[in-house]
């Protein structure tokens, strides 16, 4: 093709505006958006959900659906205007020169077609090569994305692969025609942390190898730091700041960028010196945007009649021609001033043991042949000898990836399942074998749960007040409806929601508000133990901090024991007192937060720490990429559960790792690991996260 020799920017977006048209009104999704991507460069597009970052990607692909329309500006790909291209020209470019990778890998693969055929289709359509040649190239690319046994993969169907493998196939498909531009729309959100780290590593390597330019869309600042050269922060349909990674991360020039960084926990910083600061207020709906600066109503530096007087243009930051910001006051603000810290609240003293797990086991029988109940029975060991204690007003974090048994553990604790073996002691009374319907109301009310998905946690057809009232009825709080109504309003006060919300239906609430109602419902019966199952992971960054703070504040007041299930080690480090790391049903490490986050580590903890993306340029991490996926709990490896992916395995003599499950070893007071590694190797371990001296 002639334009293979093109040397200018790969993608030039100039003053792009995109709107969606509904029956009622025009909804501007993207306004006055400009960006340039040079060959081989990776641009990160960061923002909260609803800020228009995916719309930009779809605009580049010219795939906005029936309601969406580009209402202004231009998109030039290799100097050619995409907006005026005919459908045929666009078909030629899509998939061959611009490829896109979506969030949900299973949804982007055709489930009825073998992987090999799906991959071979790309060059067969775009370059008209023969099937053999296309399949040969598919094999090459599948090898490139580091999938084991590529020949077998080509012959399998998508559902036979794990999520991580599927996403690699999607990446392979995007690379089949050696595109000049790769658009990645949250490519790793659906994956586990360690798998995410491996995929990100792969994307970076392939970008270098093929010289592809990338548009990387993510809400995770840490991921963008690791993958991109330049970054563009978006807020409510507009780009608010643009520049290279170092400029934006270390020398931010827009209040929203600053607020965003202050609301995420960084492992490099201390939680007392640098507490999380939530962004006040809510994200404006597209048709309710304020005049002037969109961020104005939530901004600390807002100035009446200046910031809301007229639309604010993108301006150059003084002395730097590729760093721009959409802030009128960026030269007046002292960006280095430390944040105003609200009064420091003392953490409640840790009290006596409330909950004790003793050798808890939960096995499931899975019949091999479900229809006739015959055949061999398989046992899935979801939890294996779980022992720990939790104290009053303590936060115990349970960390692990999907399939590690944390949900099963929560179910057994709540009484939805009964334990196979071992005991759960609540105030020294065993409850492990009592199903929830046989527990006393007091016991049920004592242990409550906060769920992960805010859009699923409330019954959509019942008003908020009614749902809390129902919990009160069940927990036998109050003697009549009037008393319960009063208590319900107090609970709304507790989670800092206006009392008027009692009459609202869940669909009228934002994600963060729904999560608050979920918390209020959990505390309806004065719960003493609250299991929080990733309570903030589905929320936007700016509300995460507020919900986290709320949980900790309630804990201080009510002396609650918080069991905080999460895979996000940054937030775990920020709020927990002790940490328990789980892998395939085993507790591999347990200790205080400081013990777990400093060497010696369990090899899995070490890998987890390394996998967490950190949005801080002063942090250097050791890169430990785990090979392969988490083994299935149906068919766990022999010996140590982690031995298939462990990088220290060679240091253990005699192949002990493959033969025996390691014993629990106490390294220090209250610090235990399950590992065969000899002491000297454990002592040799280096910290994974290093903060550069300032």
């Amino acid at each position: 093709m002639a334009d293979r020799d093109y040397t200018g920017p790969i993608l030039e977006i100039d003053k792009l505006s995109i709107s969606f048209f509904t029956r009622l009104r025009e909804i501007p999704a993207v306004m006055d958006f400009s960006a340039t991507i040079q060959p081989g460069e990776a641009l990160g597009l960061v923002g909260e959900s609803g800020c228009g970052k995916s719309t930009v990607a779809l605009g580049v692909m010219q795939d906005l659906g029936v309601n969406g329309r580009i209402v202004g500006g231009s998109i030039k790909f290799k100097g050619r205007e995409l907006n005026t291209m005919s459908a045929e020209e666009l078909r030629d470019i899509r998939g061959s020169e611009i490829a896109m990778i979506y969030q949900e890998p299973m949804a982007s693969l055709n489930p009825a077609m073998k992987i090999g055929r799906q991959l071979a289709e790309v060059p067969m359509i775009h370059e008209g090569v023969s099937e053999e040649e296309a399949l040969a190239r598919a094999l090459e690319v599948v090898t490139d994305v580091k999938l084991p046994d590529p020949e077998r993969i080509l012959k399998s169907y998508p559902h036979q692969l794990s999520g991580g493998q599927q996403q690699r196939i999607v990446i392979a498909m995007a690379l089949m025609s050696k595109p000049s531009l790769l658009i990645l729309d949250e490519p790793t959100t659906a994956l586990d942390v360690t798998v995410e780290a491996a995929v990100v590593e792969l994307v970076k390597d392939l970008g270098k190898k093929y010289g592809t330019s990338m548009l990387f869309i993510s809400h995770n600042l840490g991921l963008v730091l690791e993958t991109c050269d330049r970054i563009c922060v978006m807020y409510s349909g507009e780009a608010v700041e643009r520049g290279s990674i170092e400029e934006v991360f270390d020398d931010m020039q827009h209040p929203y960028t600053q607020a965003l960084f202050r609301s995420i926990p960084l492992p490099g910083a201390d939680k007392n010196a640098r507490p999380l600061i939530a962004i006040p207020g809510n994200f404006p709906l597209p048709h309710e945007r304020p005049d002037g600066c969109n961020f104005g109503p939530r901004c600390n530096y807002f100035e009446e009649r200046r910031c809301n007087a007229q639309a604010i243009p993108m301006t150059q930051v003084h002395g730097n021609d590729r760093h721009q910001t959409r802030c009128l006051r960026h030269e007046e603000i002292d960006w280095t001033a430390p944040p105003e810290v609200a009064e420091k609240k003392e953490k409640g003293a840790i009290g006596p043991v409330v909950l004790k797990m003793d050798n808890l086991k939960k096995y499931y029988d899975v019949a091999a042949n479900a229809l006739f109940g015959g055949g061999q029975k398989k046992v899935v060991k979801a939890n294996e000898t779980l022992s720990f204690e939790a104290h009053e007003s303590e936060t115990l974090a349970i960390v692990g990836e999907s399939g590690c048994g944390k949900s099963t553990f929560a179910k057994v604790l709540m009484g939805l399942e009964t334990a196979t073996d071992g005991e759960i002691l609540l105030d020294n009374k065993s409850i492990g074998n009592i199903a929830i319907e046989d527990r006393t109301t007091k016991n049920v009310a004592d242990i409550q749960m906060v769920f992960q998905n805010p859009f699923d946690t409330l019954n959509p057809s019942m008003s908020v007040g009614r749902q809390i009232m129902r919990a009160l009825e069940i927990f036998k709080v109050g003697n009549n409806d009037a008393e319960r109504h009063q208590r319900m309003l107090e609970l709304l006060d507790l989670v800092k929601l206006p009392r008027a919300f009692a009459e609202r239906m869940p669909r009228q609430l934002s994600g963060g508000q729904k999560q608050r109602v979920g918390i209020a419902r959990a505390f309806a019966g004065d719960a003493r133990i609250v299991v929080a199952d990733e309570p903030v992971s589905a929320l936007d960054v700016s509300v995460q901090a507020a919900v986290t703070d709320l949980l900790m504040e309630i804990q201080r007041e009510q002396k609650t024991t918080l069991l905080f299930i999460s895979h996000d080690l940054s937030i775990v480090r920020y709020l927990s007192d002790r940490v328990m790391v789980m892998y395939l049903g085993h507790v591999v490490e347990l200790g205080t937060t400081d013990q777990v986050f400093a060497p010696p580590y369990h090899p899995y903890t070490e890998a987890l720490l390394s996998a967490v993306p950190i949005a801080d340029t002063s942090v250097t991490k050791e890169h430990i990429v785990l090979e392969g996926d988490i083994p299935s709990a149906m068919n766990p490896p022999s010996g140590c559960p982690f031995q298939t992916r462990c990088r220290w395995k060679a240091n253990v003599p005699g192949g002990l790792c493959e033969k025996e499950v390691p014993p629990v070893r106490h390294l220090a007071e209250g610090h235990q690991v399950k590992c065969h590694l000899p002491d000297e190797d454990l002592q040799k371990m280096q910290p994974v996260i290093k903060i550069a001296a300032e």
Binding site: L416, E437, V444, N453
Partner: protein, 480 residues
């Protein structure tokens, strides 16, 4: 008296206009489709102020012609009805006569639409229906027949004659035939006479009463059975689900018509099978409401007990009167307690029996999906009973698909009732229901076409209306 023509004297100038309107409309539609074949549709242009401008020039012109001619047609059709209502009998012929007879229905429809349009934002899903043209048309047609049935059955308004009365000399006479007796309260047979010299128009109108009374009621019963069995099947799954699903499949696999023939056979009726089936099927509403209220209020016994006693008491009385049938195996209630006798019990039983397995399967699959939600888990972790979760957490959130299916299912039931009538099953042969009248008209179809057409048209419009209504509801419930 002279026989009536279809449109009367007014038609002589309205009819040509209507002809022209339809002609222009069809030509324009053909031209537009040809243009679409030749060239691609023009893209919609965006103006600088953000509004959209649509096609100009020739394509725009054709589109305008289509809109205008369609408006003309609608106005003319309305003119027939309005003129028919306001002018004296005979001016607008048969159509005018019918429009006049339906006057109460028109008033009720207009009142309903005006009120609903005004308060549509406060009326939930029903209000949203008025945002969708298809839904409004469907609702209009359905409510037309509902009001017709109401005014005929309760106030005896719309029909012109007794549906069973025979007038000698009018056998198989064409529409608009005058009555031989000049003193008759209504001067014509609007839609002619059937082979027993009865008024077809009155029979059609009376037929709607039977359909509108039975179809929704039978569907509600089928839903009660389906929901009460489907929820636990989906929620618990496992063995219970296997057994219930197997039974449902068994019923679905049985030929429906054969089942009907069996159920109405005198020998089978004598064994009491239909009565026992009624006793079994109609107990489900009792179970449903009993469990529904108990699971909701069991934490407050002082409130629950009176509510349960009142509701279950009323339902029990209705239930007993319903299954208690003189001359059958279930006949034990004293006369004064037996509120009513359902002479079409067999029809009712069979319709509920064949409909409930399908409802069961829909509810089961919805429950299977919804039970994995976090709010169900939240209810479980606060120790709610299984029935509370099923009826208060799962069922309300399955309402969208269920309401849509309810509308569709009334349509199926209507057809089923027509089929039953057509085969002469369960209903008396004199009955004016649409199925029976179509069947009677069929016998002389080659000689006289007019008797079976009105009931067939009525059946068609009602089912069409229900399907459109279901479409509108589905469309609007998906939108938020």
């Amino acid at each position: 008296m002279d026989p009536l023509t279809w449109t009367g004297p007014v038609g002589s100038f309205l009819n040509p206009l209507l002809g022209i309107g339809i002609g222009v409309f069809l030509t324009a539609v053909i031209i537009q489709s040809l243009m679409l074949l030749i060239r691609e549709e023009d893209p919609i242009v965006v103006n600088p102020d953000g509004t959209l401008a649509r096609k100009t020039g020739l394509p725009g012109g054709v589109e305008r012609i289509i809109t205008l001619s369609m408006l003309l047609i609608i106005v003319l059709l309305l003119a027939y009805i309005v003129l028919g209502v306001i002018t004296p009998h005979g001016t607008v012929g048969i159509i005018g006569g019918m429009a006049k007879q339906f006057l109460p229905v028109w008033i009720a429809l207009i009142a309903m639409f005006v009120i609903s349009m005004r308060y549509k934002r406060k009326l939930g899903l029903y209000g949203k229906l008025f945002d969708s043209t298809v839904g409004m048309i469907g609702l209009g047609i359905v409510m037309f027949w509902v009001f017709t049935a109401l005014f005929t059955g309760v106030f005896d308004l719309i029909a012109t004659h007794d549906p069973l009365a025979q007038v000698s000399g009018l056998k198989n006479k064409v529409p608009g035939v005058p009555m031989p007796d000049a003193d008759a309260p209504y001067a014509h047979y609007l839609l002619g006479g059937d082979n027993l010299a009865r008024d077809i128009f009155s029979r059609m109108v009376h037929g709607s009463v039977i359909v509108v009374a039975i179809a929704p009621l039978a569907t509600i019963f089928a839903f009660m059975v389906g929901i009460t069995l489907g929820l636990p099947a989906g929620y618990f799954s496992g063995r219970l689900d296997t057994v219930l699903s197997f039974v449902a499949n068994l019923i679905l696999a049985f030929p429906v018509i054969l089942l009907f023939y069996l159920l109405v056979t005198p020998e089978i009726v004598e064994t009491g099978i239909p009565s026992y089936m009624a006793a079994f099927l109609f107990v489900f509403p009792l179970i449903f409401f009993g469990v529904l209220l108990n699971s909701r209020y069991y934490t407050q016994p002082s409130k629950r007990t009176p509510i349960l006693i009142v509701v279950l008491g009323v339902l029990l009385l209705l239930y007993l009167s319903m299954i208690n049938q003189k001359g059958t195996v279930i006949d034990f209630l004293p006369e004064w307690l037996d509120l009513f006798d359902l002479d079409i019990l067999v029809v009712f039983v069979s319709v509920v029996f064949v409909n409930s397995p399908t409802v069961f399967r829909i509810v089961r699959s919805l429950a299977l999906d919804l039970r994995t939600r976090d709010y169900v888990a939240a209810a479980q972790t606060r120790g709610e009973g299984a029935w509370y979760i099923m009826l208060w957490e799962i069922l309300p959130n399955a309402r969208g698909p269920l309401i849509v299916d309810f509308c569709l299912r009334i349509g199926y039931t209507t057809i089923l009732l027509g089929t039953l009538g057509f085969f002469g099953l369960g209903l008396s042969s004199e009955s004016p229901d649409w199925g029976s009248t179509i069947n009677e008209g069929r016998k002389l179809l080659l000689v006289f076409t007019h008797p079976p057409l009105p009931p067939a048209f009525a059946l068609l419009t009602l089912v069409l209306g229900l399907n459109l209504l279901a479409d509108g509801l589905r469309e609007e419930s998906l939108r938020d």
